[in-house]
Amino acid sequence: MSTWLSIFGFELRYYLSRVSTHVYFGIFFLIGLIQIAGMGGLFPGVPATGFGNPNTHIDSPIALGMLSIVLSLFATMVVAAVAGHSAQRDFGEHMHPLVFTTPIPKTSLLSARFVAAWLVSMYACFGAAAGMSFGLLLPVDADFTGSFTLTSIIVPYALYIGPNVFLVAALFFSIAGITRKMFPNYIGGIGLLIGYLVASELTSDLDNKTLASLIDPFGLETLSQMTRYWTPVEQNALQLFPDALVLANRGIWLAVAAATLALGFYGIRFAETGWQPLSRFRKAPSETAEPALAADAVVVPPASRQFGSSAALAQYRVLTARALREVLGNRYFAAIVGGGVLLLLVNAWNIGSVYGTTTWPVTYVVINGLTGAFGLFTIIVITFYAGDLVWRERDLKVAEVVDAMPMPTWVSLAAKVTALIAVVFAMQTIILVVGVLTQLSSGYTHFEIGLHLTELYGLEMLEWIPLALLAIAIHTVVNHKYVAHFFVILFFVGRGFRGLMGFEHNLPWFGSSPGLVYSDMNGWGSFLYGHLVFKAYWMAWALVLLTLSFLLVVRGSEASPAVRLRELKRRLTPTGIGALAGFTAAAVGLGAFIFYNTNIVNEYQLAEAGKDDAATYEKRYKADWDGANQPRILAVDLAVDLFPSTGSVAASGELTLVNQHDSPIDTLFIERLAGKHIEVVNLDPGMPVANVTVDEDFGVHLFELAEPMAPGQQATLRFEARRSTPGFRNSGAETTIVGNGSFINSGMIVPVLGYSRGGELSDKYDRLARELPERERMADLDDPEATQNNYISSDADWIDFRAVVSTESDQTAIAPGYLLKEWEDGGRRYFEYEMDAKILHFTSFLSARYAVTKGDWNGLPIEIYHHPEHDRNVDRMIESVQHSLDYYTKHYGPYQHRQVRILEFPRYASFAQSFPNTIPYSESIGFIAKVDDPDEDVDYVYNVTAHEIAHQWWAHQIVGGSQQGATVLSESLSEYSALMVMQERHGEAHIRRYLEYSLDGYLRGRAGEREKELPLLRVENQGYIHYQKGALALYLLQDELGEEVVNGALSRLLDRTRFSGPPYPTSRDLVAELTAVTPPELSYLIDDLFEHITLYDNRAESATWVKTEDGRYAVTLELQAKKLRVDEDGSESPIAMADRVEVGVFIGDRDHPEPLYLAKHIIGDSTKSVTVLVDEEPLFAGIDPWHKLIDRDSDDNLVNASEGEGAAPSADAPAPAIAAVVLDEPEEDAQVEGEPAEDTAAP
């Protein structure tokens, strides 16, 4: 023991005396500090953010835990260095014969060293905790702190970081000890990384989350799974104590770590040669017998030699080939690339998944998915092999021979650069092959090889070449392998921290660009130009760096600054100076050109500056103009000229205004879109104007009327404006008016009357920072004033609409309404549309080169305007439209239009949006979906289409007031309607799968809520509430009340409020109709689902069966049921429960359960068990098996059934059916035996 302690002590002292140990600590300290400082608002100009959510404290357990765990992943590099060094340094320093001949037992020596290495690595990791704690002592924003306890640091270190470092250390210690080299360690590190990446990739499909939780070696995915539904309140309060899955994950990986270490101890040999488990399979190298010297000398023939440029070229060629072989023949390269390919395959398998349903692997989806996954490996290859190539000759000790060869200095460096680029180029081929195979394997044969090649070998290479040159330049100029590696890694890591510190402009960030989005419809569109200019700019800088490398590269055995400077002067030939000056001039020139485009032609605005503008607008106008009487728009008549190839639009029109107030209006507040490239040619209120004030900042025009507008008076406002998109921007590009697939809405071109509240800052802290008073996100549900406007537009109600839209001659332009006339003039096509029904003041204008697929529903035309290649799901859409129209007209009432049009637009946005008789639909969400088997995949094409059609009722026939709950009337009811259509088409099992995602989405959504969660009745345009919770609530309601009953209520709601407003209906109108059809014993449902936030926590503890005398099976389920109410501030309290909950007993497997018994029982919080009788031996059973209730943890609802002991208990009676509860067949088979059982349901 004393020997052990002295070795251990020696090791600890050795590491603690090394500067690097403390540098590692310092780095993590600094990163921890920066993180806390960034989130806590210590950087000037960057406000505090909280931990991903303003309500999650930066010192909460989850913040401190997640941050320190993620940082400990970066520590893998440190652990590799320390643990690897610990095992390998005797070999590296050729000390091993001395060490191995000491009488210390191997295990003592190794274990002492390992424990010391582990502790030293942990010390480095504690730097993060120390840095974060120190950051918390600084004056961070106090609104974002308040949860700190020591436990928040102890738990993650004990449960995650400690074991993770142990695992990584064990792996690296063993690998380095056995191979006696350091490099293989990096490969081990990459293996761990792949485990983590594969795990996070798998979680996108709900079915895989348990697997993913187990295979993540770091447990981070497991932790994410455990905390995924935690609301901010819980995040601040709950410690990261493990659940069963976390314990399992930790157990598995600790076992792996222990096994690795054991193997390492076994495999590390205290002998001259290392452990070679494969040696007996290898051919022993044959002894090289020494030949006798030839008696007479051989004459070496003379050879002519070349030293000109042709020789240099030949030398460049052979050196490039040599360097390329050195990389490609390196077995670690194969390992890195192999890791990349593995990840590619996982990715390819899961590509473009939505609701667990994949998309067709169209080229851009495949390339995006694969290059994203592979990018990290390309970075790894560039990082490692830039250094390796630059140091290759010196590492092999042939540098002196090569350097003394008669070739120009540039040749060798040029060869290395070429080789590195060629390696990256070759790696693109892997993506190409995997990509094409992915396409083939899903039966997709529309190969766009040209696009593959351009993306991979063109655009991707433009990304990588500057980075490869940068890495080579860093290594050449720094001329110290590890320091240079550090700088290269720092560069790549630094890119990730850029946002945190508030740097937004791309100009100083090497390699960055505005981004590039490819659309099948529009190609690279407007993105390409700016992207290419940026890439040219970085290429110029890369060449400057490369020239500098040529000037500073070390040739020979001296590397002192003085010698390099002398050499530099010698190399500064006219060519050298010319290259340096030329490339620098190009870089500076391109930089200036970029600056001109991003900051002068276009407006460069920091996110924070944009918020300042919103605050200024509010301060300038709200007091006087919010709610001030303004005329109302009665009719809209527009002429919209779209110019796709130049990205501009000219719009003019007439708005018929009326003063529908009781008092005259003396000043009109008319807001034109502000912005650099909006040119207002004309804005005339159609009444004599005494004075006009124009605020160019916000486009606000105040017209003081010569004669006030009398009540009831009408006027015609005329306007004409142009909008263009010159140059390119720092980020993003024009996505509305584009070459093919323009899509703008009326809000972008039509002037707005009155102060618009929509632009106000809503974030509490953004407002606080700008001294704005606190405000509610939306007007109160019971605010009568708010019902005066609908939530779509504040200056119009139901309008008349007409528009002439024009576009270029090869495109079709579409607006709501019916095509009256179509003509050509001056090489442009004109389309005149007119709407014959009243519609909302919200219209769309699209133009593209469309193919049209037509269908009909009882003679009503259905037209799908789509990209000619995107015809795969068009029939499915038409079918969904037909089916939707069937269902909605049958249950809700007539469709107000005479046509349905679906219009594809590019994937710059991924939504579908319902306008009157017109539904723009993004290419990314339905047109490329691949729904093979509706039993396995969620048919979201059908669903989205049905949802949008439902909006023709829910939004376009009845629209809510501009207040809380408005979106229940449009979104929740559309979601419900689509579910019903989908259920008719695909059956209940399909809906169950869909609702699983709804439940997951709702629970995740509330966890990410930035302000406060509200009951459905009061939803404030919160997606997770009006979509996901809305779907769950209304589906449960129809499950209990019956579909017909609920639809009856909805139909009555429509009858009462169709095209009404102002005042506009509210969610109370919906609830009133639903309450009217709900029997008193179910009234708790309305209360739970609409009026409050209610969660269940139901769990099946066990299921045991015994055979009854008549050969049947009595299954007893031990249960736990709990119902919780959640306040607006997120605090939970249990409430009494006596609710109808489904109980089921099953055979089959968990993915395809077949019910033996399925019925609703009254379950209360005191219900401990339920017994039912079934005919077959059950396999599993549980409570609320289909997740109809909003259960906080739906994974624990089912348990496997096992045989129990004792006599068969009598069965409990299911709750009496209410309304028409339709049971599936097997349920009807399941009879309930004997007398009515004791009442297990508590009141």
Binding site: T288, E326, L396, S560
Partner: protein, 293 residues
């Protein structure tokens, strides 16, 4: 053609004076550069091989200014450094071909003939297809010589070529060197006196950065002739002898110690002995003969 070095000095950034005003003229033929470890041999070799800069002084090869016109030197240089590692996974013939291109032999046919001849000459032909990683130390050195000989160099610099070789390998290597010394300037740096005495027509002794002696082995041996005396002493007597005389070397021989001293006349108990080059080397490096600043 001659290599002339004049006033060549080199001080490293850490303050070590590797070369102090070295003057040396090296004619065609084998030239030995003798010196103990750390004498500055490799610094001088590397400077001549264009891999290092000198602070002051000149070096010319014929009419080439070696310190400024490095590329001209490289065209006529064959260099075998002290420590030569090679790409372990390539066969000898492929790597030699690779280096032949770097040496400017761009014609494929000529290259083939030259590499073939050189592999035969260095007796590696049998093993030409073996990977260099499997070569023994001696074979690697011979391969290094083959590389150095590519392109018919006029200046061949061989730094410590026999260090670590067994006697048989060393013998083979000497034979190889002897052949090539006929038509070029071959500078052989070594701390092993036998290498030089076997091979070189002329030599210089470098010590602490200075040339302390130079000339032909005969000339140098002559400097000690008649001044060198030997006595076989018991071990206990050695210290006393060292006090009393200028001892050049002491060496155990058959259980007694052979003590060599330098003196104008025979000290008592000593007898005359014919000096060897090794004696000269010892005398030079201990400052008994030769010049130093």
């Amino acid at each position: 053609m001659e290599l002339r070095i004049a006033g060549l000095s080199k001080t490293y950034p850490n303050g070590v004076e590797a070369l102090k005003a070295v003057d040396l003229t090296i004619p065609q033929g084998m030239f030995g550069l003798l010196g103990p470890n750390g004498a500055g041999k490799s610094s001088l070799m590397r400077t001549l091989a264009t891999l290092q800069e000198a602070d002051t002084g000149t070096a010319t090869l014929g009419d080439i200014d070696m310190l400024t016109d490095k590329s001209a030197v490289r065209r006529t240089l064959g260099y075998l450094p002290q420590e030569v590692g090679l790409y372990p996974k390539i066969s000898a013939i492929n790597l030699l071909d690779h280096f032949a291109v770097l040496k400017g032999i761009t014609d494929r046919g000529e290259r083939k003939a030259v590499t073939e001849a050189l592999l035969k000459r260095t007796n590696l032909w049998e093993h030409r297809k073996k990977k260099l990683g499997t070569y023994s130390g001696g074979m690697r050195r011979r391969f290094g010589i083959a590389v150095a000989l590519l392109g018919d160099p006029k200046l061949i610099i061989v730094d410590e070529p026999t260090a670590g070789l067994d006697p048989a390998e060393r013998e083979r290597f000497h034979n190889l060197l002897a052949e090539i010394g006929e038509s070029s300037i071959v500078i052989l740096s070594t701390h092993i006196v036998d290498d030089v005495s076997n091979l070189c027509e002329r030599l210089a002794v470098l010590d602490k950065g200075q040339i302390v002696l130079s000339g032909s082995p005969e000339e140098l041996v002559a400097k000690l002739r008649g001044r060198l005396w030997i006595h076989y002493a018991k071990r206990a007597e050695v210290d006393a002898l060292k006090q009393a005389h200028t001892v050049l070397s002491t060496r155990l021989s058959a259980g007694r110690t052979a003590v060599r001293v330098v003196a104008a006349e025979a000290p008592e108990g000593f007898e005359a002995i014919e000096p060897t080059l090794e004696d000269v080397y010892f005398a030079a490096t201990t400052g008994l003969i030769g010049s130093r600043a």
